[in-house]
């Protein structure tokens, strides 16, 4: 099991000389430990970068109380995968201006990464990414969620995402009229 593996790794690494540590240990809300390379953590997460720079990294496991072990596992997984992936040329975006959207399409491995997640895991991951300030991961996960919404009617979206409809029928009709252009099928 990967969680256990992460834990085992963490314990193992703790034995390594402290001075040469190039990983950080993260502790989920339920106490599980995960190991992630310092470089990846600092590069991908602004929060962790700040903690590393600020020296507030706990060698025995930095507490991330907001993040459950599953989400943290995914985060660590993402970090590792990201470290292994070849940075594409798109990393140097060609032109930054008013007009260009900063978001870049998820790469193939990122797609696969989020595709395999369950709904719950996905949303947990979004929150974790948000908490850790992992912008890229956030983009990718949000992109995934929006993909799931794409092409669906409101009813379908409600069903998929378990949203409660608190409109009355009249209100709904009103909205449809107001935003007729959006509900116009072409």
């Amino acid at each position: 099991m990967e969680v256990d593996k992460g834990k085992g790794e963490a314990e193992e690494t703790r034995k390594v000389a402290e001075a040469d540590r190039d990983t950080v240990t993260l502790k989920s809300s339920d106490g599980k430990l995960f190991e992630v390379s310092k470089e990846a953590a600092a590069r991908l997460s602004t929060v962790l970068a700040g903690m590393i720079a600020g020296g507030s990294i706990d060698d025995n496991g930095t507490d991330l109380k907001q993040i459950g072990s599953e989400a943290l596992e995914n985060v660590v997984d993402y970090c590792n995968k990201h470290a292994n992936s070849i940075p594409s040329a798109a990393l140097i975006s060609s032109s930054i201006s008013f007009n260009t959207a900063p978001f870049k399409e998820p790469e193939e491995w990122e797609r696969k990464f989020v595709d395999r997640l369950s709904h719950d895991a996905l949303f947990d991951l979004v929150e974790a990414a948000n908490f850790l300030g992992m912008e890229r991961l956030l983009d990718v996960t949000c992109h995934k969620i929006s993909e799931m919404m794409k092409g669906k009617s409101p009813d379908q979206i409600r069903e998929v995402f378990n949203i409660k409809n608190d409109y009355t029928k009249e209100e709904l009709e009103e909205i449809r009229q107001e935003l007729a252009w959006a509900f116009y099928d072409d």
Binding site: P87, S95, S97, R158, F161, F183
Partner: protein, 784 residues
Amino acid sequence: MPPPLPSNRAPQRRGDGGVVGSLPDDLLHSILRSLPLKQAARTSALSRRWAPKWLHALAAYPVLDLTDQNFARGQSPARAVATHGAPLDAIRVALVAPSASGLVGDGGAFGQDVVGWVAAAVAVDLMAPPSQDEDASPRDDRGRDQQELHYVEELGLQRRHGRSPRSLLLILLAETFQRLIEIIRLRQNGPYLHLPQREPRAMIQQRDLTDCACDHKSISTLTRTRGSDRRIRDDDAAAIHRERSTRSGDAFEGRNSLEYLALGRISLRAVPLPAAGLAGLRSLSLSHALFLTDDAVEGVLANRAALESLTLTGCHLLTSVSVASERLPVSGARGLPRRARAPVVPIDLGEVEGDIAMPALRDARLTRTPTSQDYEYPFLSRVAHARVLTLCSKASREAPHLRVPAQRRQQASTQEILPRTIRPYRIGRGRTVRPQGADLTQNVRRSDKSEHLPADRLCTRSEPFAIMIQNHQRLCPKISSTPDGPPLPTGPSAVDEENHKRAPRLRSKFSMEADCPPGRARPSTPSYNTRPQLCHAIHTPSSPLAPNSSKRRDSLSLSLSLSVHFLLPQNRPRNRAATRPNSLNLGHLPPSPNPLMLDLLHLPSNNPTFPFNLHDVVCGGLNPRAELLTSTWKGSSMPPPPPQLNQGTPSLKIFAKKMAKVVALLSLVTWNSSWGSRNLHTHTLPQDLRQEDGEPGDTSTEDLGPRIKMDGWRPPRVPARPEHNRQPRWSLAASDAIMLHKHSSGGLASDEGRPGLAGLDLEGKWATKAESDGRRRRRPSVIV
């Protein structure tokens, strides 16, 4: 196929809002942002909570592009057709978020929503045209009112019956911190977006002000500036007058105001130009605005205390403009030396663009320095106090710049100064001067010869130079002379003549020039001294996802991407000293999760002086993901670097945390390596990274300053994958090398198509934790 449904623990944890509903708003915005506009709008039918989200999501994005075909189709084409012959096809709203007041971080959500509200206000107008009867009760107009209500409630205002979307827009403007709101017509020749002519009906009465949650001052500002709308209805005028008399002065002090406003190709008939929230306007740009009359412009200028820059482009109804601002000079940062806060105050009165004729105003740029305490200044007489005045007109291209020192300006008649193509200006209070056949060229020459310009003049030669920075106080790219830099060229020279001739062409690209005193940069000599100039800088937020945890005052939670365009004269100026490296002071950049992009663009391919005119890059508070990128190289073939590359000592000074320092160092490496890929080779650039101002209490920063020596680095000559045995080697002796090492693997790896740094040679001191204790370990060279 839909992914598996949430496990059964979801409902307890997530509550009724659904899985998505449990996410914070900014995440929802991110999600919605990725959706097509139509899809996003549909989500308003999901539930009440979702109803306003899509607009907010749009608003949270720096660029709001409402170009969806269906959206355009839905915008009540009949109405638009009736006014301007074609339906609305696009509104694009660009928002630049940074706030000099530092409030964006705290009020982020609100701030981010502002443009959405503006857009909503516009959209509501178009979607649900209100009935002709302004006094219609909300019942009759429920759809619109309902929608409006969302925003009003979220704004913290109570519902006001009968408030039109337009007035809502004004409220929003008033509530906006310094922001850029740019509503642009996308299609140059497309139909105009017409904002309805209906007057904003709902005056915000005093009683309304008291019970709203907004800043009282801003609302009073709104009321007051609304009062100066000359199109206001008579019966309201009395109330306004009362308002104004009781609240004088507020408008000039209120901070909640737009700082930068650019409107293009929209009708201004319904937007009262001395509009709310514009009291703090520093830069106003109106291009191709319909129905922009002289009166309107004067109205704008009358009450704008902080206006620094005005650009009117292609406004063909304008015949004469009298600039009679009370305090046209910027009210600069307090505490700085006077010289430092004396900014350039350009007024750009339009350039002819395309075939749109603007009969009266042409390319008149006026630059003045507030050297006098005399603030009663209508246009030209005010300008007479300037040390340097630059006026150029289209016809004066052969002699585009007229520079008259202050002493002479007092004597020079206005006729001499005004190019003849400029139609009568109303000067001062009703005085009209008609330039009559003055020989402009002669005047120019004469004044060129005779003037004696002080060395510390602020602006001048009108060489291609423009900085367009919205966040004036926080981000201050400025070119300043370095203490050990070359002496400023004094007095005009032949070089200047050359540049003057080129200036109009270059300036056609960049029309705005603004400068401001930096937050905490040490203003040595704020002079725009040397020839190749920082020409154009824009920074925009690239993402709304900003942390709000930062408490430092200068830690705006916003992201920047800074594009610096260098426009260089095509020929190298004869004055070699003038081409010595410049320094770029980026001021104190707010840390943010998003990368800082420094983009160097627009390099003329035949300019031999580039790239290292940039001598000093000074910035602070770089965020950890800062990157300095030189991604776009316009020139196809670059000549080898000029010898002065080696003369200067390019340095990157960063006062920031260790992390930032290292990344910035890396950025520099990346930067240089990217130059290298463009045939820039064999130069020795001793890079000196000094950490000047660390976090308070961060004692270890002082001696951590890594020194990077890039000795004998030979980047590949061709932009292709470098051969292994010819990999560039960088010798880095950095105390922070370990961090560097860590970063380098990701940041500097060369990949196909971008031959970056292929070898990174780390030697010398490695930083470990022990280093802060003064102990340092040596390691052999490591090739990454």
